[in-house]
Subunit: 351 residues, 2 copies
DNA sequence: TTGAAAGCGCTAACAG
DNA sequence: CTGTTAGCGCTTTCAA
């Protein structure tokens, strides 16, 4: 390793490269490559192998992935995209759900020998350029993606897994929770506790989105139990704590009263709880509430939130499994729906 | 773009490359490179420039970063490391703080033309191999990093910014919040509200860590106000909701009573609140509590948590600024301490 | 069982 | 103002 001056004037240790290892070990670069990459069908004498490995260790050799990527077109990189709520702001910020999901994906990817490239995405932006530029081996998109750029994604060589996407598109693999069943479960639980004046609070969102399916489940349950879906008990807004807090007032103002709320996400439910508390309305004594997601924080609020649990850890891990599988069998389209279940805590009372 | 069969048998569209653009535009590859990279000091006729840009667009040309990285040794990639709490589990999972921080860093990096490589890290692992393998241009390490591998990091060509690190090491740039001042501020606020029996709950952690400095601030405030630091009012445990919930009982069991708690993190404070609620102890009527961090969730709990605010968004943005600056002026060591401030909400009462 | 050598696509020094 | 060309470090085919 000799001291060199780079053209930009930065003083740098020249990196050990495969030729250095080859020279010191007295073999060719090919042999070094074979040994270090554990190339199958390439028989190497035990002696040579040991020698190469020893020298590589001695020289602290680390391969240059730019070179191998250039050669073989792969990057060992999975791109994870979390589209942004607001243009230019907040990516995973607004909902802790994303942090939990990401965390799991990163851990799984790492165990499988991949790294994770994390990106937010503005409303109108296209990710396919990044995929090509960085030679990403696979892509996971969480949430919605601008419809006008879906085709560009589809033309990529890299498999794309859509997690909780609004659209169902045969060109992509998809992973969701059983949102409709969960919405139904939540609503039936309220009905089972004697509630009939049940409000729905959820994100105003595209057809086919998770929120939309949760709403459908709400409608299913009402219909099945002979309750009519009253439009004025349905509140649509942003999927945020702030909106929940704000809409609490509107919910309380319903002329006929409301005894229970199904919030389509925990973050909304927690906002509602806060809004109720602000107005001296007690949960669950005065009004019951059930959420959806089972965030880590949902058991931290007081009272602890009754909610529909989705296994976020499993979702993150599964998403990575799916891209990796798709890299091996690109022709097989994968579509998975993860089960949900009810978690009884303290925000619903029997009336 | 012709259809090719790769050696692995995968059918693939051959990528448009710079030679394709050059050929179609009737110029050399050098010219294309100059135009597309906006190379300074390289005067290109407006006509040529326009032609090249047009052709590049027509052909949907996207450069191959493996090739440029190989050539110039840079990746336009910033590595962000979040050491794991438990070996093999939970990276940013346990504390929503990380999600907020990450989010900001990613957004800033993206605006600056970089991508973010996110990694967790086991207790004994070394990141320097990744930095060399991926030619990372800069590294941000959040939290603690295994001391035995610090030297490897220091030898890298890439600048390293330690965010909230335990150690202060001249070989690295560092970014922290003013934890000690914050700890003092919190404790003084309690004292100012008439409290004298003030407990401290915080993570048992290394000397020099954020938690340690917050504790020092607590001690400062007590000393300055003539209160003695009673060891049996100091509770050390894991920085988690669960520990806060559990330790609530111990805090309440103090023979002389405790009227206020300074929790060294919001996640602990919220755990404590929950633990108190479980035991029918009201906040702030029966016991006051103040936290540290001002997480998004801290205003979501009821009552909303009084806490020391640190500007997590600013911290994330600053961290990225610092690595980018360090890439330009590697010789200048940067060390920044961000201010904190008190946010009065509803968990401390005057006695 | 090993080695020689041809690129992968791009940048930038240098020549024109 | 534009083009030629020598690599960057690695993988892999083919020959020995």
């Amino acid at each position: 390793m000799t001291e060199t001056i780079k053209s930009d004037g930065v003083r740098n240790m020249a990196r050990t490269k495969i030729t250095d290892v080859a020279a010191k070990a007295g073999v060719s670069v090919a042999t070094v490559s074979y040994v270090l990459n554990h190339v199958e069908n390439q028989t190497i004498s035990e002696e040579t192998r040991a020698k190469v490995e020893e020298v590589a260790r001695e020289l602290h050799y680390v391969s240059n992935r730019a070179a191998s990527s250039l050669k073989n077109g792969r990057s060992n990189l999975i791109g994870v995209v979390i589209p942004q709520a607001e243009p230019g702001k907040e990516i995973l910020l607004s909902d802790p759900l994303y942090g939990e999901l990401l965390s799991e994906m990163e851990y799984k990817a790492r165990r499988m020998g991949y790294h994770m490239l994390l990106s937010g995405l503005g409303d109108d932006q296209d990710y396919s350029g990044v995929v090509r530029n960085r030679l990403l081996d696979g892509v996971i998109i969480v949430g919605s993606y601008p419809a006008e750029h879906l085709s560009d994604l589809a033309e990529l060589h890299a498999p794309v897994v859509l997690v909780d996407a609004c659209i169902s598109d045969a060109r992509f693999h998809e992973l969701t929770a059983d949102d409709r069943a969960g919405g139904k479960l939540a609503t039936e639980y309220l009905i089972g506790h004697g509630h009939t004046k049940i409000a729905y609070v959820g994100e105003k969102s595209e057809k086919g989105s998770a929120a939309d399916k949760r709403y459908a489940g709400y409608a299913d349950a009402l219909a099945e139990h002979g309750l009519s879906l009253e439009r004025d008990r349905v509140y649509h807004g942003k999927n945020s704590f702030a909106y929940g807090e704000k809409v609490a007032e509107t919910v309380l103002a319903h002329p006929d009263g409301t005894t229970a709320v199904f919030a389509a996400s925990d973050i909304l439910a927690i906002g509602l709880m806060h809004g109720f508390a602000l107005r001296g309305v007690r949960v669950p004594e005065d009004i019951s509430i059930i959420g959806f997601d089972d965030l880590l924080v949902s058991r931290m609020v007081s009272p602890a939130l009754t909610t529909i649990h989705q296994d976020i850890a499993a979702k993150g891990e599964k998403a990575v499994d799916m891209v990796l599988d798709a890299m091996v069998t690109p022709e097989k389209r994968q579509s998975e729906t993860l089960p949900v279940r009810l978690v009884e805590r303290d925000t619903v009372r029997r009336i």
